[in-house]
């Protein structure tokens, strides 16, 4: 690696300072930060190109084309990442808006504390509509997940037995909720559930969501069952274990990863679902996505953004916990964390 000159080391900071002052003078504090960031990047980039430092990271035998592709690839990946993550990030500052609109106010851009407030979070925690929606979602999603996981796992095990007749046809029927447009299933469920008195009840929504979740469980569990060695169950039977005991002691622990990821999908399906619950539920089963949907349509209130921010934070925490647990169990098993 070539030794870097002092000027090239300080260039990013100089660029940042110049553009920050420029931004502050012409447009205000928000633009000063924007200016500082872009000045830093520009200052760094100029010397990075001028000193041919882009050669440092690639093997010396690379042609110009290969070097270009090396960086183009990274830029494309970064672009995709930005494209995916920006819509999620942009709502976060807006959720602290002091106004009741989806707008960056001049006060917010000037970093005036007056422009920010927690009132939308307060509204979320004090408004009975939102609290009911949270309660409903928390009551519906786990029950639906439990049902989908139990039925889905049983179905997957049954369907992976070679002697079951019409396996493909049954599989296709069970997976159909995933393939048929949701609105069709929803309308069908509405009329069917109305006739048997399930429309507008807690049980009805749970059953509908379970039906939507089952395909995910079947697919993930079937995939793990492909690698399952059936001689293990025969060995267990040989030692006198009943089929139920064999299932819980031998088969279940081995296919658990598939069951858990299927359950996770089923949970998210129920937790995020808005179309079916609009049909099958009544206002008493208003879930979070339903409340967000009506909120967006009838009253464009930043409370929705506050809820979205909370949900993002919860999902990140959940995924981090899962990952930490996974690493811990791998460490305990003596494997190195992947």
């Amino acid at each position: 690696m070539a030794k870097r000159s002092t000027i090239s080391k300080s260039a990013p900071w100089i660029g940042a300072a110049v553009l920050a002052v420029l931004g502050l003078v012409t447009a205000g504090p928000a633009y000063a930060i924007l200016g500082a960031l872009s000045g830093f990047v520009i200052g760094w980039l100029v010397f990075w190109i001028a000193e041919r430092r882009y050669r440092d990271a690639v093997p010396s035998y690379y042609t110009a084309g290969q070097t270009l592709w090396h960086y183009a690839f990274r830029v494309i990946c970064g672009g995709i990442f930005v494209f995916l993550i920006t819509p999620i990030l942009v709502v976060m500052p807006l959720s602290f808006n002091a106004e009741d609109f989806f707008t960056f106010t001049p006060e917010m851009l000037a970093f005036d504390p007056e422009g920010y407030s927690l009132k939308h979070y307060r509204d979320f925690f004090s408004n009975s509509d939102w609290q009911n929606a949270v309660r409903n979602s928390i009551q519906i999603a786990p029950m639906a997940t439990l049902l989908s996981v139990s039925f889905g796992t049983l179905a997957a095990i049954g369907l992976s037995q070679p002697h079951v007749p019409f396996r493909r046809a049954i599989m296709a029927i069970l997976i159909s909720p995933m393939i048929v447009p949701l609105i069709i299933s929803a309308a069908g469920m509405y009329f069917f559930y109305s006739r048997i008195g399930l429309q507008g009840t807690y049980l009805g929504v749970v059953l509908a969501h379970a039906a939507l979740g089952i395909p995910f469980v079947i697919i993930t569990v079937t995939a793990t069952l492909v690698g399952f060695d059936n001689s293990l169950t025969r060995a267990a039977a040989n030692m006198g274990a009943s089929p139920v005991r064999t299932f819980f002691k031998v088969q279940m622990p081995l296919i658990l990863p598939g069951v858990i990821s299927g359950g996770l999908f089923a949970f998210i399906t129920s937790f995020d679902e808005v179309v079916v619950v609009l049909f099958v539920g009544s206002a008493g089963q208003k879930t979070l996505p339903w409340q967000m949907f009506t909120g967006l349509r009838e009253q464009i209130s930043p409370t929705i953004l506050a809820v979205a921010t909370l949900l993002v934070v919860i999902s990140v925490l959940l995924l981090m916990t899962l990952e930490l647990l996974r690493r811990r169990s791998e460490r305990l098993r003596g494997m190195s964390p992947g």
Binding site: T103, S194, A283, E298
Partner: protein, 368 residues
């Protein structure tokens, strides 16, 4: 064989359990359907909260008024009406009444007398349109404009909407023919009392669409009442139409640089209907609620929270100050003489006859 029996038995048990659950669930709850937003909030404070306190019934809000007609049709078809009281505009009430989806109401029997001793029929007067509709408020669809985007000459005339030279910038109009066609004709030189005669004819409809075409490139079409307030607050548009209560909230409660353009505001009515197909107990409770929620004091109370005019004549003197801001509400009512210098009443008969036809033309024109 054994498996089949077990399956059948468990299915039967599930269904029985489910219906028992469903009945128990309905016992002391009623579902009231409305529009959401500031409007639902005003109903919550003026009607629902005192009613729940008085009777112990718990009220669930469903913000589905926008698709009330189609949902009620589906509920009726499925034989499972889950709504107890529904807030709809008068035109929807007339449609629901014609289709037998809304219960016929004898106003004097069902509704309370006015505080001044007048009967309900006298008190509501000509606002009792159709046989099923229980009027609640008078609202208007009118324009609001950004005060900081119109220069030194704020618009005073509805035709400013079509004047893109003096007032450059985007405008928001509702994505439907009603109201827009009337405004277009007025601004194309048709006299106010001839608007509907002209609009009956093919040429008249074309004339209105041609006038709208002059600003088509500058229009953002809205479909929810909250759109225009959001666009005004963003400064995306220079002016836009919406319900006057929404504009009141933007101006007085949110302190945005927006002002009202009351010229050629179009009055419409909003109120309750009770769906047909309710069990006798639910119907009795719905009637009890409606009687409570439309008495003189309650209607006047709603005006404390939102700037819509109460439908009863006897409520007008009781309209006071805004509950939180403490400002007088009367000057913000669409019916205030200052605001109502030039108004239009939504023509129910005309739109009942021509709605499907003109709406189809309008949507086809939009898609061009």
């Amino acid at each position: 064989m054994k498996l089949t029996k077990t399956l059948l038995a468990s299915t039967a048990l599930t269904v029985a359990g489910a219906s028992a659950f469903a009945d128990g669930h309905m016992a002391n709850e009623m579902t009231i359907v409305s529009w959401g937003g500031a409007y639902s909030k005003s109903q919550q404070l003026a009607y629902h909260d005192p009613y729940m306190e008085k009777t112990g019934v718990s009220i669930i809000n469903d913000e589905s008024s926008a698709e009330a007609v189609s949902k009620l049709r589906a509920m009726n078809e499925a034989g499972n009406v889950t709504w107890d009281v529904v807030d709809v505009v008068a035109a929807d009430a007339l449609r629901l009444c014609d289709e037998g989806l809304a219960m016929e109401i004898d106003a004097d029997e069902v509704l309370a007398n006015g505080d001044d001793g007048s009967t309900a029929t006298e008190d509501f007067g000509e606002l009792l349109v159709g046989d099923c509709f229980i009027p609640q408020i008078v609202y208007s669809t009118t324009f609001g404009y950004r005060t900081d985007m119109v220069g030194d000459t704020p618009p005073t005339d509805v035709c400013a909407v079509f004047d893109t030279e003096t007032y450059p910038g985007k405008r928001a109009l509702e994505k439907r023919s009603i109201n827009n066609m009337e405004w277009a004709l007025i601004c194309d030189g048709v006299a106010k009392d001839e608007v509907y005669d002209v609009l009956e004819t093919e040429e008249g409809q074309q004339q209105a669409l041609d006038k709208l075409a002059t600003i088509k490139d500058d229009v953002i079409w809205w479909s929810a009442g909250a759109d225009t307030p959001q666009l005004l607050a963003d400064g995306e548009i220079v002016m836009g139409s919406t319900y006057n209560g929404r504009l009141f909230s933007v101006i007085e409660e949110q302190n945005q640089p927006v002002a009202m353009l009351w010229d050629a505001q179009i009055f419409d009515l909003d109120g309750w209907i009770i769906p047909t197909g309710l069990s006798p107990e639910r119907q009795a409770r719905a009637l009890d609620y409606v009687r409570f929620a439309t008495d003189t004091q309650r209607l006047a109370d709603q005006a404390k929270y939102i700037s819509y005019g109460p439908a009863r004549k006897s409520s007008a003197p009781l309209v006071g100050q805004h509950a939180e801001l403490g400002i007088e509400m009367a000057p913000h009512m669409p019916t205030d003489p200052e605001n109502a210098k030039n108004t239009f009443l939504y023509n129910y008969e005309f739109w009942a006859d021509y709605r499907d036809d003109i709406e189809a033309k309008f949507q086809a024109w939009l898609a061009q």
